[in-house]
């Protein structure tokens, strides 16, 4: 532990009480004063760590540090403290990589403004937990004297809640640090609960909570090899299936070692997959895959699309998620039908956008688009159509690019910087197709636009908000396409085309894998992805079956020792998958 000498008196004005308290905190608070600031200098940023001689390599290795997502944070808090706890904060932006935020989150940390938010949020949550009306149930024990510290009750609470938040039992050091905080707080405020509130805030602010740290341990079955430890496994499973921290039963299976046995693993996976909470996991996955985070900054020009509002955007997002849960989980449907099924849900806002009556007195109602609506699956819902358009017009190029990127894992490279755009001229009249023909025939543009624009153009009967239209500037819109010799027309033709594209299920398998393990599936994973895709097809493309098959395969828990860690009798190269 680093110590920096500070002139305490200088920073600790106030009463004698404050001064004494201050003497305690200043020492701890100052401990980091020299760190940080020089991150890119690597070891220079932390002389103490660099100088500490390591007698022997650690028994365990941290193989991943992934910032938890906003929805994982929210779900975890609701699980532990109940759904009434308000989580009101702005979370740090996430970062998409290889098509997924889950992969990008592996690179993310907590910036200063982000920590401020977590700090305030943690304070607000623990204040709600310590509300006199509900704290007895929340805490589970009572202090001998509410006006004083009570180490026994505090320890009980910290270790119970801490285990849920950290997704593993706390170390003695982790507990005692919070006990100290609780004691000092209780002493200063003459209130046990005030102290405990501080401890809880510190748990909520801890990197062990805010980051999913995955740990590998030596594999007893294969000397010299590492395997993911049971708690890390439990966490992967829980976040995939339920988008939240492991529940008590899953943690117990980790503690007992059951989870490290095939039978124990199968049992837990079956339980997770059968739970109604699978909805949360599937929603979280598709929210990520379909890039719904972009709704946060979605704007539409009010003059062009007056019907757009935040309520419409929120409704659209919910519509697609409801549609997916209904098709994929409730009806155990074929994943490929997401492009063709017109069974969906609408509310009053969406009914206005789709220009249909809302025949229900409930908030949401089932709705099946008729053939004449030209709709076909989720590509023709407001989500996809409005997200991948401009504020004041549709964009076949954008829609085409996102179609490939999201559903077939074929990202389009950025336009070449040196392309001569000067030949591409705007055309004020006519339809967008006329303009894009220039892109498609222009050398340099053509490689990408020939791939993105044809499918995008088949969606042109839907404007930038997703409303049906058949003309643009008074001319009928041509929605025909010829992709690799396959001719079709309109959104319904595109839906059928996507439904039959073998890249679509393979892409889902690849992305679910990347989503779970926090890195993009690479060359080494190809045969695994192929095997799982085959099994997926055999199941009739049922998504719960896919999740179960993957979560019970050894590859799902493969360990990759990160660069920069020295492990016992090993180089920095990745180890093979171990069970």
């Amino acid at each position: 532990m680093l110590r920096r000498e500070t002139g305490d008196g200088q920073f600790c004005p106030g009463s004698e009480d404050l001064r004494r308290f201050r003497a305690f905190t200043c020492a701890g608070a100052a401990s980091l004063a020299l760190a940080g600031a020089t991150l890119f200098a690597g070891g220079l940023g932390d002389p103490a760590l660099a100088k500490t001689p390591k007698a022997k390599p650690p028994a365990t290795v941290t193989t991943a540090v992934r910032r938890i997502t906003e929805s994982q944070y929210r779900h975890t808090i609701a699980d532990i403290f109940g759904p009434d706890i308000k989580v009101n904060a702005r979370f740090e932006p996430e970062r998409r990589q290889d098509g997924l935020l889950a992969i990008g989150s592996t690179d993310l940390s907590v910036t200063t403004s982000g920590l401020e938010q977590y700090f305030a949020l943690g304070g607000s949550i623990s204040e709600q937990v310590m509300d006199p009306k509900s704290r007895d149930t929340q805490i589970g024990c009572k202090p001998a004297d509410p006006g004083k510290p009570d180490a026994k009750c505090a320890r009980e609470f910290i270790s119970t809640v801490g285990q849920k938040l950290f997704r593993r039992p706390l170390t003695e050091g982790e507990i005692s640090a919070r006990l100290t905080t609780a004691e000092r707080g209780a002493t200063l405020a003459h209130d046990f609960y005030s102290g405990l509130q501080l401890s809880l805030t510190s748990l909520l602010l801890a990197p062990e909570f805010l980051f999913r740290t995955e740990t590998a341990e030596p594999d007893p079955a294969s000397p010299g090899q590492y395997r993911l430890d049971a708690y890390s496994k439990a966490t992967r499973l829980s976040f995939l299936f339920w988008d939240t921290a492991p529940d008590a039963e899953l943690l117990a299976a980790a503690t007992s070692g059951d989870l490290q046995t095939p039978a124990g693993l199968n049992k837990q996976v079956a339980r997770l997959a059968a739970s109604p909470r699978l909805d949360d996991g599937v929603r979280a996955y598709f929210t990520d895959m379909l890039q719904f985070d972009q709704f946060e900054s979605l704007n539409k020009d009010a003059a062009t699309y007056p019907k757009f509002s935040q309520a419409v955007a929120d409704s659209a997002r919910e519509q697609t998620l409801k549609t997916l849960v209904d098709l994929l989980i409730d009806r155990k449907g074929d994943y490929r039908d997401i492009f063709t099924s017109n069974e969906t849900f609408i509310n009053r806002y969406l009914a206005s956008i789709y220009k249909v009556p809302f025949a229900s007195s409930q908030e949401w109602t089932r709705y099946t688009f008729p053939q004449s609506s030209e709709r076909s699956g989720i590509l023709t819902q407001v989500t996809f159509l409005s997200l991948f358009s401009h504020p004041g017009r549709s964009s076949p190029t954008r829609r085409g690019i996102k179609l490939h990127e999201i559903f077939t894992c074929q990202p389009t490279p950025d336009p070449p910087a040196n392309v001569d755009f000067s030949k591409v001229q705007a055309i004020q009249n006519g339809t967008v197709r006329t303009r894009l023909i220039d892109h498609m025939t222009n050398e340099g543009c053509s490689i990408c636009h020939q791939s993105s624009d044809p499918p995008g153009l088949t969606l042109e009967h839907f404007d930038g908000l997703g409303q049906l239209r058949t003309t643009e500037n008074g001319l009928p819109i041509d929605v025909s396409a010829d992709i690799d010799g396959v001719k079709f027309s309109g959104a319904q033709g595109l839906g059928k085309f996507m439904h039959d594209d073998p890249n679509v299920p393979a892409c889902l398998v690849k992305q679910v894998y990347g989503y779970s393990i926090g890195r993009a599936a690479g060359y080494r994973d190809q045969s695994y992805i192929a095997r799982e895709t085959e099994a997926f097809a055999k199941s009739g493309y049922q998504v719960p079956a896919l999740l179960t098959a993957m979560a019970t395969s050894p590859e799902f828990f493969a360990v990759k020792i990160p660069a920069g860690v020295k492990v016992a009798s090993q180089s920095d190269t990745p180890t093979s998958p171990t069970r």
């Binding site: 106030g14 970062r95 690179d107 001229q425």
Partner: protein, 449 residues
């Protein structure tokens, strides 16, 4: 930790242009040498900011330029797209002809330009930098004695910042005037001119929360790999900055004569149209200017509009980005009229921003006179994603250290020369910036006092 790791990282740090001065204590003392002073002898702090707007300015191969002044040196003339800067022209230096050099790396469109300017390295891919942005270095040098080390804003409503310590995690900006107001003047704000200042005991309770977190630092760092260590270091840097914030809240703040705590702004409109973006930009500039006058921060980053800017004129179905690419060049004018019109409207944002800073009187000048703001964009001529002639501007007197009001013209030298100049004017301990062909140790001395 192996030595090998440290050497490699150190080397990378050097290549990243961040090597010089590392490990030196970064203290405000660097600044006090030339800092202007209040009448009573107290030094006025110098502030630094970056101001980014998307899609460059118009400088076409066919029709000459809409922004590069003809006259070089002091007393340059105001060009159409710089019209909004006219009121503060003598406090702004214009840099033309500087370029980002990829050294074989591709032009990552709408990304390479500002990544090069800020990190000194042409980026490999979009979305991340290969080094920290230099504003964080400046924040380390001058930001430690204010409540916030730096503040990020993004008035277009997209949560975007190009300020990064790790190259991967970028700062979270405030995107509305209200959230900016809450962050600065909400809980934890101490009016420096409040005569009845008392330390808030709650602050100490907050400190004890952090101490429990930091207690576990070493255990957490014991077995992590290089990449994870960077992330955790960033996390603990954030913790340290928060501790610093709390420390400062226990000290009686120094009086700031120019500080007048502003009122709460109204709810902002949510739109990417240029009128709304500029309105929010102006409201946020006002709050930020006062935050600097009240010593809440000394460093800021503003992203007016993102790289491939989606701003537009309300009611027009086409966004600015699209205009830059597909609007025909008017044969007679020699440029794209709508794109140029939009460029002027976007630059109005910078004009407004500087006007707000210039409106705060401080000492015998204004806040702008005691600040240095680097304005820049992602491209030169946006139609072709040009990395040449990226518009760059240095605004503000930097407490007398910036010889402002000049036009510096270059024949394709690296943008990092301007970045280095900014860092040296502000007094950051940096002798060299950039990597490969963009490595430079030559600041533009003409503008340095």
């Amino acid at each position: 930790m192996s030595l090998r790791f440290n050497r490699r990282s150190m080397l990378r740090g050097l290549l990243g242009g961040a090597g010089v001065g590392l490990g030196l204590p970064a203290l405000d003392i660097f600044l006090d040498v030339n800092g202007k002073a209040w009448a009573d002898g107290t030094k006025l702090p110098v502030r630094f900011g970056t101001y980014f707007w998307g899609l460059g300015l118009t400088d076409t191969p066919t029709g000459g330029t809409r922004w590069v002044p003809t006259k070089k040196g002091p007393g340059y003339e105001i060009t159409p797209e710089l019209a909004s800067l006219a009121p503060v022209k003598d406090k702004v230096s214009v840099f033309s002809g500087f370029r980002a050099i990829g050294d074989g790396r591709p032009n990552v469109v709408h990304w390479s330009g500002h990544a090069s300017i800020l990190s000194g390295i042409a980026p490999a891919v979009t979305g991340s930098f290969d080094g920290p942005s230099f504003d964080t270095r400046i924040a380390d040098a001058i930001g430690s004695s204010s409540r916030f080390k730096s503040i990020d804003i993004s008035p277009s409503g997209k949560a975007l910042s190009y300020s990064t310590r790790t190259g991967k995690s970028f700062s979270t900006p405030e995107i509305t005037p209200v959230s900016l107001y809450e962050r600065i003047y909400g809980e934890g704000f101490q009016d420096p001119n409040n005569p009845n200042w008392k330390p808030d005991p709650k602050v100490m309770l907050k400190q004890s929360i952090l101490s429990a977190v930091t207690d576990q630092r070493q255990a957490l760092m014991a077995d992590v790999g290089t990449a994870d260590k960077v992330k955790l270091d960033q996390y603990f840097t954030s913790v340290r900055e928060m501790e610093n914030q709390l420390e400062l809240q226990l000290q009686k703040p120094e009086k700031c004569e120019a500080c007048v705590v502003p009122g709460r702004p109204g709810e902002a409109k949510k739109s990417a149209s240029i009128d709304v973006v500029n309105e929010n930009n102006k409201a946020m500039a006002k709050l930020l200017a006062m935050a600097m006058a009240c010593n809440q921060t000394r460093v800021f980053n503003c992203v007016h509009t993102p790289g491939a800017s989606e701003t537009y004129i309300a009611g027009d179905s086409k966004i600015y980005h699209q205009y830059t690419h597909d609007e025909p060049t008017d044969a007679k004018l020699g440029y794209q009229p709508m794109s140029s019109k939009l460029a002027g409207m976007v630059m109005q944002g910078f004009g407004d921003f500087l006007a707000e800073m210039d409106a705060v009187k401080e000492g015998d000048g204004t806040l702008l006179d005691n600040s240095l703001i680097m304005g820049f964009s992602d491209t030169g001529y946006a139609k072709i994603h040009s990395l040449e002639n990226i518009p760059m501007l240095l605004a503000g007197g930097a407490g007398g250290r910036h010889k402002a009001g000049q036009h510096i013209s270059s024949e394709g030298e690296s943008v990092t020369r301007v970045s280095l100049t900014a860092q040296q004017i502000i007094g950051a301990p940096v002798g060299e910036f950039g990597t490969g062909a963009m490595k430079t140790s030559r600041p533009i001395t003409e503008v340095m006092a």
